[in-house]
């Protein structure tokens, strides 16, 4: 069972990319987010943990059909509830089409049968047309000259490595079970956009179901680790500002994957440099919802910082999280490489 679920996460990543890139209108039904639907909410009494922190604990999902960047043909910030419903239905139908018999996606996975498509699971709905809220056009800010040069250098270096099937390290980080787009800001993917938050005295722990990836965030104001030490997930420090958990992360390495980025090592988050600074705000606004907002500040890559909001909803369907032993069950990487070598032999002998 476990192994079956582990076959080439990469293809699924690719499906996600296609979905994210092609959805003309990604939508949501009426929202629980007071900010985006304008409805007045009853005052919410923030529960506390035994040591007095505002309580963010539980199983959460940020699964959504809302794309990171606003689709080019959409000009407004928010859909009406009716438009959002239409958009969501269209997106769900398109997702289901991915498993049309005879398509690559169908050979790989039947998303619908295995409950992996988003609309069968809890969706964190809102009315936004993009997750990015700043710049106001809902799109990433312009890339700096340095950022463009770096992207070109990375692409050239990547090309030199040869095609993905030449060697494991040429494949994308998801196929290799090193990481998916889940360890910078918390961003949803096509499936398994599920999280567990546990708070102990002085620490907040955020576990991502994908690749059992956890972040342990100390709240005691300690300094970051030395700047020469670079990690895939960086180094996080947190503090409470009222009922909001603020987390600052630095010390990233320069090898991290982008959102839906299908390239091999050498590509960092959306082309960001290792000096990227991530700031996140977690505010529980009711029993079922966390407002999650993040800003990425990387002057070496973008002309200005950018900010996105991703609603998180209490996961009533999928929690608790199950172990995603991606690497342990990674038969697909072996099969892909072996298949490529066999094909070369066959070609050579013809």
């Amino acid at each position: 069972m476990t192994h079956r679920c582990l076959v080439s996460v990469g293809v699924l990543t690719a499906v996600t990319v296609v979905l994210l890139a092609t959805l003309p209108v990604a939508g949501q039904a009426p929202s629980s987010a007071a900010k985006t639907n304008g409805t007045a909410k009853k005052a919410y009494t923030q529960p506390r943990t035994p040591d007095g922190q505002p309580d963010l604990q539980g199983f959460w999902t940020n699964s959504t059909y809302t794309p990171l960047e606003r689709p080019k043909n959409v000009t407004k910030e928010l859909y009406t509830p009716e438009e959002a419903e239409v958009a969501e239905k269209a997106a769900a139908a398109r997702e289901e089409e991915q498993t049309t018999p005879g398509t690559v996606a169908d050979v790989h996975y039947d998303l619908t049968q295995f409950g992996l498509d988003r609309h069968q699971n809890t969706l964190a709905r809102n009315l936004r047309t993009s997750l990015i809220v700043d710049p106001p056009d809902g799109r990433l800010p312009p890339v700096t000259a340095e950022g463009e040069k770096r992207a070109a250098d990375v692409a050239a270096a990547r090309k030199k490595m040869g095609p993905p099937l030449d060697a494991a390290e040429n494949m994308n980080l998801g196929d290799r079970c090193i990481m998916m787009a889940n360890t910078g800001p918390l961003l949803p993917m096509g499936y398994m956009s599920t999280y567990q938050i546990v708070q102990g005295p002085g620490h907040v722990m955020i576990l991502s179901e994908r690749m059992h990836d956890f972040r342990i965030i100390p709240l005691d104001g300690r300094p970051h680790i030395p700047s020469n030490v670079r990690q895939w997930k960086g180094d996080s420090r947190g503090r409470w500002e009222g009922n909001t958990l603020v987390v600052e992360t630095t010390n990233y390495n320069s090898k991290r994957p982008g959102v839906g980025d299908n390239s091999a090592a050498g590509q960092s988050f959306r082309g960001a440099s290792e000096d990227m600074r991530l700031t996140e705000w977690f505010t529980r606004v009711d029993a079922e919802t966390i407002h999650y907002r993040f800003t990425i500040d990387d002057p070496r890559t973008w002309t200005k910082p950018w900010t996105a909001e991703v609603p998180m909803a209490k996961d009533r369907i999928q929690g608790p999280l199950f172990e995603h032993a991606c690497h342990e069950g990674n038969y697909s990487i072996v099969n892909m490489l072996r298949g490529a070598r066999e094909a070369e032999k066959k070609k050579g002998s013809n």
Partner: protein, 266 residues
Amino acid sequence: MRNQFTGVMMIVASLCLGVTTASAQAPYRAPRTGDGKPNLNGIWQALNSAHWDIEAHAAAPGLIKELGASNAIPGGAGIVEGEIPYKLEALARKKENAANRLKLDPEIKCYLPGVPRATYMPYPFQIIQSPKHIMILHEFASAVRTIYMDDHKEAPADSWMGWSNGHWEGETLVVDTTGFLDSTWFDRAGNYHSDALHVIERFTSRSPDTLMYEVTIEDPKVFTRPWKMSMPLYRHVERNAQLMEFRCVEFVEDLLYGHLRKPSSK
């Protein structure tokens, strides 16, 4: 208030009895969390050579000649009570495992290490404790265990780190774990188990910076009876201690997939 009173009474009691030996002292009472449970939060690590061999063993050379003394095996008195009661055919498999460690040991492949092996590997782990869930977060391969303290259930499917239900018995956190795959080992010496493994762990504070860790292993497919291991665990007391990233998958790709590389690529 009550804690102070108890403490005073203990001191008075021990003075009256003239007790000086450690073994006769009242058991240590750990500081409490906000909900009144023993506070096990912290970064912990075993300090022994059980990761090489849970049984008593003399020092021995390592498997990689080039690494010389730096990879040699330090001796150890073992952490197992008595002998591991292998069934006859299972003992043969253990010896086979040991003889083929370079090919078979899941640690070498950066696989999730299983339980209890993860606890005494030479890497720290962190306990983050809440009333409902106690997290055990390992530096090695970012292995994770969630211990469910109130919503106990059976494992929904088998996994590498198992499914853990926990409860408190006084000072002791008792963790009952089942739902294991048969793919993990107990150490680098090839000690192993089947998918019938059932692990009961007891974590008890024994001083501000040490825990006692006791484990009962049951696996009727491999062993003739349940058996036990135990060891202290030590707190990382250095300032600002934190787990570092040890994402070992990328360290083993050439080992696992190098033979399938296109010959002309480098």
